[in-house]
Amino acid sequence: MPFLIFSQDDLLAEIDVDSIQNNYTIATFKGLKIVNFESTKLVAKKELTLVVSHRFGSIENGFDSFFGLDDAVTRLNFIYGITDGFNISVSRSSFQKIYESAIKYRIARQSENGFPFTLVGYHSLFINTALEKDNLPKLEFKHRLGYTTQLLISRKLNTNLSVELAPTYFHDNYVTIDSQDNSQFAIGLGGRYKLGKRWSLNMDYGWHWNRAENSPFKNPLSFGVDLETGGHVFQMHFTNAQAMNTNGFLGQATGDWSDGNIYFGFNLSRVF
């Protein structure tokens, strides 16, 4: 019995030491994504995380497609931590059969009496394998490619509220709308409000700066909740974008909140 008591003291002492040495702000975001946008969280060194995402079809079709269950798109995303501050990822999405690979790295970290923001860089390259030469006779491999470059700036304002700003440049080598610039700019706005020990309310919005006037696509707006269970973060949300890659949800969101044309979705992340 005395031994057990002693060992508990020991653990408590370690916790104290740790919190004195490290004054970095922790848990700004609990998921690797806010809803659609990348958060400033990274995967730890030598850890592999799988994020499985689904976006169902439009809920406005009701029971005909069981509120979108029949029309789901899926993305499997593996993220590996080379170091605590440098991650690589590969993913495949059933939305236009897109393969994507990305790097994500931390530039600066918010700390209690130090730098006020966490800065993270994110770059990705994708290949759209759904484009068909039969339909587009002059299609070449380069037309399948697209790029994203993003700076993620986050700040945990207090225990409960974290916010993020994400200036984004993205380029699609092929766009369907003839008057749309292939190079596109957007600003992402996101936040997380903690409602309890295990759950929080999340939202993000993508403000596209140079969308073509006749474009049928909309800015993506999403609301959701994060639910933490042991080893999992479960994010459930409503969004008007069905695509899950950055170029997809910023450039090709088709839903519309004003007429109920929105999609239910979730991101489930599992650390191995």
């Binding site: 029949d70 939305f95 339909n135 002059k138 080598n173 766009v175 369907t176 292939n182 695509a243």
Partner: protein
Amino acid sequence: MDKKNIILMYAILIVLFDCTNASENDLIDQTEVSESVTYIQDVQPIINNNCIVCHTNPPENGAPMPLLTYDNVKDAVENRGLINRISSQDLSFLMPFGGPRLPQNLIDTIIQWEADGLLEE
């Protein structure tokens, strides 16, 4: 691999492929649609390239009906809203499912086919 190698790899990839600026009009054939559109000549190739992966017989991946024959396709245009499904901008309603939307010239071909009376040949 360390950080520098990976950043270098990405830089090389981006330089290698470079950015191009293409849109739908750049990649389609700009030929005029023939006098009158027929199933054998114009429609069947579009259906075969895009639809019969799932709309085969028996249909796969939850597709409700085949699109293998002239009668199948005619029925889908007349009774199943095929033209609405392929021309929708709502990605969760659009066919082929998951996108991308067919190039507009191919959609127009099928609309023209209906207007011409759904001729077989």
